[in-house]
Structure formats: structure tokens, C-alpha cells
Symmetry: C2
Subunit: 293 residues, 2 copies
């Protein structure tokens, strides 16, 4: 990573405003390191919703008003004159973690536990997106025998409604403890809060119920738990492991590792770069092939 910039952004402002801001900061970063936009191999973008792989357009993203079907690659291409690769944000985090820490692992599931819960699935060495780019939508899997909280998707019993950072913070507020974000929860856990520690352990168990199904279906060899709530560390992971090793068949768990993410906030940046590099190399190979034909 040659240069970086971080800021919160209100996705509700819509694509033109948000992407114009991204372009401005992108141009500033390029000039900061003394390079030119035409030296870019491409631009990689992660969005918090499903993205149609062929077009790079968000499709019916539940938390991105105004973005449905917007031509994100076209908007960025026009500015940078370079191809823009757009993908779901959890997918690029999965790619970043896989590339950086588990390059030889063929089957890996990356789970992001944040305000929502999502996952990126690598099978036989490649990220898998499904037919509409909606694969990995772990957050709305049904949690067996759990309380019937109504989820923002309109269903009841969704994992995300009971085990996300937002859900834990709400439970803490209900017992009079000030907490709003995953970071607040993590801070409380690290301080040894007698309310927060068992709640996070229980969240780990609930996530474990759903991951046990994923293990039986996909037989991965590594599950990486990342996102802000994973910063709570072993308390969360212990809950996950406890249920996965109890619920899944021995054959699927005998060589399974369940680990905390290592790359942190840069996972998405690295994963998006990997996608751009793959695309650029594939185009190079195509040119070589066409030139030799």
C-alpha cells in the first residue's frame, strides 16, 4: 500500500455524490505519491450490498438507497480512464485475507461481524458469487431455537437480528449500559464488563449454529471471523468453535481451523487490488494471445 486515506461516508447521499468524493480523494492520493492516473492498472471498489459481477452494478442493495442498478464502473472509468472492478465489500475482504494469510487454502469462508453479518466464500481457490452475486448472505440464515426478533429484512429469526454488533449493543443498552457500535462492545469486553463478556460469548455460539450448517454444506478447511466485533477476540471465537465442533460431522471438522482475521481494515483494500491485478493480468494474457495468433 503506497498511500491511503480513511473517512466515514454516508452512503445515503447516493452514488454521484459518494463516488465524486472517492474520485477526488483517489486523485489526491495518486498525486501525493508523485504518480499519474494513467499509471493505474485499474480501480477496485467494494460496496456494502450485492453486486452483479458482469456489470459491476449494485442490485437491490438493501442499505444503499439510490444505488440500485447504478453504473459504478462507468462513472469511475470516465474519470480515471481505467477499468473499475466493483464487488461486494465482504467478498473483497475475503479475497484480501485469503491472499495475505491463506494463499494455498482451497476452501475458506470469511465472516464479517459488524452492524450486519455477511460472508465471502472461496471454493476450490476462487471466490464464488452465485447466480445473482448474492452468495454468502449469512446474515439472514435462520437461527435454530433463538428468540423471534424481527430483522430489517422483514423475516424473524435471522442471524443478523440477534448476533450482529448492533444487536449486542442494543442488548447492552437494555440493561443500562451505553453502547452503540461494535467498537463500543469490543471496548467493554476488553475492560472485562460482566454484562458484555457473556453476551459476546453467546453471540459466538449463535454465529456457530449458522456456521455449523456452512461447514456441513461446504466443508471448508478455514473459517476466518473478521469485522469490528471480531476484535473482541477469543471470547467470540470460543463460542463459535464450541457450537461448530458440537454440531458438525467429525469428517468435516477434523482438519477445520476457526480463526480470527489477521489483516484488519486493510483486507478490503488488498482484496480489491487482487481483483484489479487478476483482471489486468488476464487482459495482458489475452493481448499476448491475440498478438501471437
Amino acid at each position: 500500500v503506497l498511500a491511503e486515506h480513511w473517512e466515514e461516508c454516508d452512503i445515503d447521499l447516493g452514488p454521484e455524490q459518494v463516488l465524486t468524493r472517492v474520485i477526488k480523494e483517489g486523485r489526491r492520493l495518486i498525486s501525493e505519491i508523485g504518480r499519474r492516473p494513467d499509471e493505474l492498472a485499474g480501480v477496485g471498489v467494494g460496496l456494502p450490498g450485492p453486486v452483479e459481477q458482469a456489470t459491476g452494478r449494485p442490485i437491490s442493495p438493501p442499505i444503499m438507497p439510490g444505488w440500485d442498478g447504478f453504473d459504478v464502473p462507468g462513472f469511475l472509468d470516465a474519470e480515471f480512464g481505467r477499468v473499475a472492478i466493483v464487488d461486494n465489500d465482504v467478498n473483497i475482504m475475503a479475497l484480501g485475507e485469503h491472499f495475505s494469510v491463506y494463499p494455498g487454502v482451497q476452501n475458506l469462508v470469511f465472516v464479517k461481524v459488524a452492524t450486519g453479518i455477511g460472508s465471502g466464500i472461496i471454493i476450490d481457490g476462487e471466490l464464488r458469487r452465485g447466480s445473482q452475486g448474492a452468495a454468502g448472505d449469512l446474515g439472514h440464515l435462520n437461527v435454530p431455537h433463538d428468540e423471534q426478533v424481527v430483522c430489517r429484512c422483514g423475516n424473524v429469526g435471522c442471524l443478523e437480528a440477534v448476533a450482529s454488533g448492533a444487536a449486542v449493543a442494543a442488548k447492552l443498552r437494555a440493561v443500562g449500559i451505553e453502547a452503540h457500535t461494535s467498537a463500543d462492545v469490543v471496548r467493554l469486553v476488553k475492560a472485562g464488563s460482566v454484562e458484555a463478556v457473556p453476551l459476546v460469548r453467546q453471540v459466538g455460539r449463535t454465529i456457530g449454529e449458522v456456521l455449523a450448517s456452512v461447514v456441513s454444506m461446504l466443508n471448508p478447511s478455514v473459517i476466518v471471523v473478521g469485522g469490528p466485533l471480531a476484535e473482541a477476540g477469543e471470547g467470540l471465537l470460543a463460542g463459535v468453535r464450541e457450537v461448530v465442533y458440537r454440531r458438525s460431522l467429525p469428517l468435516a471438522t477434523q482438519h477445520l481451523r476457526i480463526v480470527q482475521a489477521q489483516v484488519g481494515y486493510q483486507a478490503g483494500v488488498i482484496g480489491a487490488s487482487v481483483e484489479v491485478i487478476d483482471h489486468a493480468l488476464a487482459a495482458d494474457q489475452l493481448h499476448t494471445l491475440l498478438a501471437s495468433a
Copy 2:
């Protein structure tokens, strides 16, 4: 299919006895059509348990005593002098259905509902087996909010323990109706039994609970329900659809088809043949490549 033979076989007899019988019938079929064993491209085999892809050996198969780690390909190669490709039986059924009916579909899940319940997963056009060949093990996914029946795997709440052909037959016997196999249940449904029809519909709903998770995770465009209990037809499928369309997110279901298997008992034979042909063609390409190098 040039020649075929069907018989029930007791897998408990162990690999030598069962495979010796297979070899004898195989040789008879080849001579029946006036061909020689050395004209075979290979031998394809499906086994009712997890198979290690690299070696073709069954690994910890729960219902195949004496088969664990047995060198099935070696035993058959020695007899036929041709490569034997061994895979899980539901995997080859998935391949057979995919090859025969949905050759252009990239993401397909095939579910076999029989004495047990299993699935074969095709993602981005290829069958996916997971790290130990255990992928697709749908039968031991936890069913939300269902009765706590103990499964043969030792856990409670497994899909297979409440929604297999064996489970339905047991429920029918509990109300005094003679039924032992999936075929018995199907016969009762076709005859309009007031006990069997609603039970099978409910089994469809229960399978739908688990398939809703599969849809959210993998975003397939086709789910094929096969195996003997699927012969019950629309009653079972209606239950599956009812729950999948209610539980899964709209994006993942808008283009999803849930259909009954069409190929029937030959699906496994066709799928095993497809695997052998793929292997033979890959070997051919390798020879051409080595010859030209």
C-alpha cells in the same frame, strides 16, 4: 446407455465381496453387447458416503462398515486394466441431472431425499466437494424449531432424522399404517392417503427450511429435488417452495427454479459416465500436450 443391470446389494458385506459382484456383472454387460474390457474408457463408481477425491477411497463412511480407506479404484483397476473414478453417489446423481437437463446452468443444487438426505453442489459449472469430500452433507443440518429427534449421527434436530423417507415411514407406522420405504410412502401419497399427503407436505416444508439457508449461502439458479421420496411429486415440492420463497431474500429467489428431478434412477449412471469421459479427455489433452512439447 448400451446395457444395464440393476440389483439391490448389501453394502455391509464389505468392499471385496460387493466389488467382486460388481466386476462380475460388469464383465457380463460388456460381453452382452459384444465388446471387450480394453475398449472401456474407464469405470465410474458411486458410493453412499464421503469419498476422498484424490484417491477415490471412502473416508469414515457412516453406513459402510469395512469400507473406510479401502482402495476402491485400485481393486477395480486391477480387474479391468482401466482407470476407475469413484465419487459420492449424490455427487454423481447431481452431475447426471446437470449434464442431461441443465448443461448451461452454472449454479445448481441437487437434493436426494431417500432413506437419508444428501446433496450435490455445482458452483460456477463444476461439482464442488470441499476439503475432505464432505461438502453437500445437507442431512445433518439443524432444522429450526423442529422436534428434537435423535439422529443416527448422535446429534438432535438433524434434517435427516425428521424429513427422510425413513422418518416419514416411521411416522406413518406410528399411526398404524404399514410403510417402510420411500416407495411405500410415495404409493400412499399417489393413492391420496389422508395421513401420508399432509406428512409429505410437511416434510417438504422442513427440507425447505434447510434449503432456504442453502439459497442464501450459494445463490443457485436451480434446485433439483430427486431421490425416491421426490417421486411423491408436487406435494413435496409445494412444501419446499412455500418455505424457500418465504425465508430467502428476494434477490436470491427472483430467478430461482425449484424442480423435481427428471432423469430418475439413471442419473447416477450418467453422472459417473460424465466423470469418466472428463477424465479420459483430460488425459488425452495431456498426451497431446506432451507429444507436442
